[in-house]
Amino acid sequence: MLSGTEADIINSVARSRMVTKDQIRRQVGFSLDYIGFLCRDLVRRGYLDFSNGHYFLAKKGIKTLLAEETPKVDRELLKEIAGEVAKEIGGELKKAVKGIKIPVKEIRKRKDLREKAGQEAVKIKTDFEFPVEDETLALESNINKIGTKLEKEKLNIDKSVELFKKFKQRGKG
């Protein structure tokens, strides 16, 4: 069973067919880290697939969407897409669109383009390594001679370290 936020992600992916983590974040909200964490988990559980930086629906995701297993699946979205299809091909189909669940490619493409034009911000992808000189070498100081204040505390952080490692691994799927 999917949680509410997971269902939102499934809806977001269904809406755009192939989406980046950042595009999902824009639609669903929350931090990029959190969305990444949930997406990786959905990939692990077979709801989503991932390739070339994009998420798309996997078998289980499509099945969930069609089978109406999840109460949070966005019926409004399906209706909205169906409505657009109806407008596109004329009034005749208007009455029959209620049952349409798979969006038409062209509509989706146009929707994607609209979204991209309006929402996509420039993302910095390079990791600029800036060399910083050690300016302290030119300073005279007695800090090392006097030393720093050292306080010791009897603490066992092993449990926290192991748990954090476990969560990180789980997140990576």
Partner: protein, 349 residues
């Protein structure tokens, strides 16, 4: 001393005492480094402040004899660390700070060499080349028009120059790693520092949102100083030494002003958390109540957590709140959390 420290670390490493990985809290007021040493954690710290005094050989000699830390840069002599605050109070002036509002001060010309020296003095040399060090960074400020990219890149570059593999960690997130293992790292970490208050909501160790506000301890000091015509350094000294927020009667003028501004700051932070929740549109489905951890030097006065709970009860968050408690060691939790992250990465190598 440097050599002695290196030898001490090398011998410790051979004995299996000093373990790999370090965590540094680079705060506006203190710089603190945590390192695992057997079943203990060693915390090395420096106050992030300096004060210019007259540069003569005689002054230097006096400072050396009194074990007061100093730095000579060009023709200037600066007292650094805790003693800088004492000197400032003695001369009824303000200390200078390499960091302002959580980042390298844009207006302080000595900021960079000063912060580098202070960091170097607490972090020492790496146990081996490429040792992982996690350093704390603030969240993007909600109420100021600056970002933190320059700050991160300069610190990262400097730690690399020292031979480390630096990685950054949000201050609020570090608090969660330090204090909320029992709650599966789910909750809100709040760091009430000198230059900023940092907030992070984490779910299963993953930050959901994180941000900072630039009203914090220094802001309280400045507002109180203006209100009662005192120096901010003196207000800060009183705040750190004797302020009791649970006291309701017999307050001095400065204590009354401090109490008023503490109230204002807490309310400001809670309102900003509420706004972030509303911006997030949908909240993670967390079945349990959320714990809140209070930390940082500005949270140290007696009665702080009680005051926080009182205000939180009135303002209410849009999620069920569980225990609100102080971090076990409010001045160490950021460094400790950064150490947890560094140890986890080191043990994967």
């Amino acid at each position: 001393m440097k050599k002695a420290r290196r030898e001490e670390e090398a011998i410790g490493a051979l004995k299996g005492e000093v373990e790999r990985g370090k965590g540094i809290d680079i705060g506006t007021v203190f710089i603190k480094c945590a390192q695992k040493e057997g079943d203990e954690i060693g915390f090395r710290s420096q106050r992030n402040a300096f004060f210019e005094v007259e540069h003569t050989d005689f002054t230097k000699k006096i400072l050396d004899n009194s074990k007061v830390k100093y730095i000579v840069k060009e023709d200037k002599l600066y007292v650094v660390g805790d003693e800088a605050l004492q000197f400032a109070n003695m001369f009824n002036k303000e200390t200078r700070r390499p960091l302002s509002r959580g980042v390298i001060s844009p207006t302080e010309k000595e900021a960079l060499p000063m912060v580098e020296l202070l960091i170097k003095s607490v972090v020492g040399e790496p146990t081996y080349k490429g040792e992982i060090v996690y350093f704390s960074i603030p969240g993007e400020p909600l109420d100021a028009d600056f970002n933190i990219i320059y700050h991160i890149k300069m610190l990262e570059g400097f730690l690399k120059t020292l031979g480390y593999t630096p990685k950054s960690i949000n201050e609020g997130h570090a608090i969660i790693l330090s204090e909320l293992a029992e709650e599966d790292f789910t909750g809100i970490g709040l760091s009430f520092g000198g230059g900023m208050v940092n907030v992070c909501l984490s779910f299963m160790s993953v930050p959901v949102f994180k941000f900072s506000v630039t009203k914090a301890g220094d802001w309280i000091d400045q507002q109180v100083a203006m209100a009662v015509d005192e120096t901010a350094s003196r207000v800060s000294a009183i705040k750190e030494s004797s302020l009791d927020l649970s006291k309701e009667e017999g307050l001095s003028k400065i204590e009354s002003a401090l109490s008023i501004y503490y109230n204002h700051l807490i309310e400001y932070v809670i309102e900003n958390i509420k706004q972030e929740f509303s911006k997030a549109r949908r909240l993670p489905r967390i079945t349990k109540t959320i714990s809140i951890i209070l930390s940082g030097g500005t949270s140290l006065p007696k009665g702080f957590s009680h005051r926080f709970k009182q205000i939180l009860d009135q303002l209410k968050l849009p999620v069920p709140v569980g225990p609100v408690r102080m971090a076990s060691q409010p001045l160490r939790s950021v460094a400790k959390g950064a150490l947890v992250a560094a140890s986890a990465d080191e043990s994967k190598k």
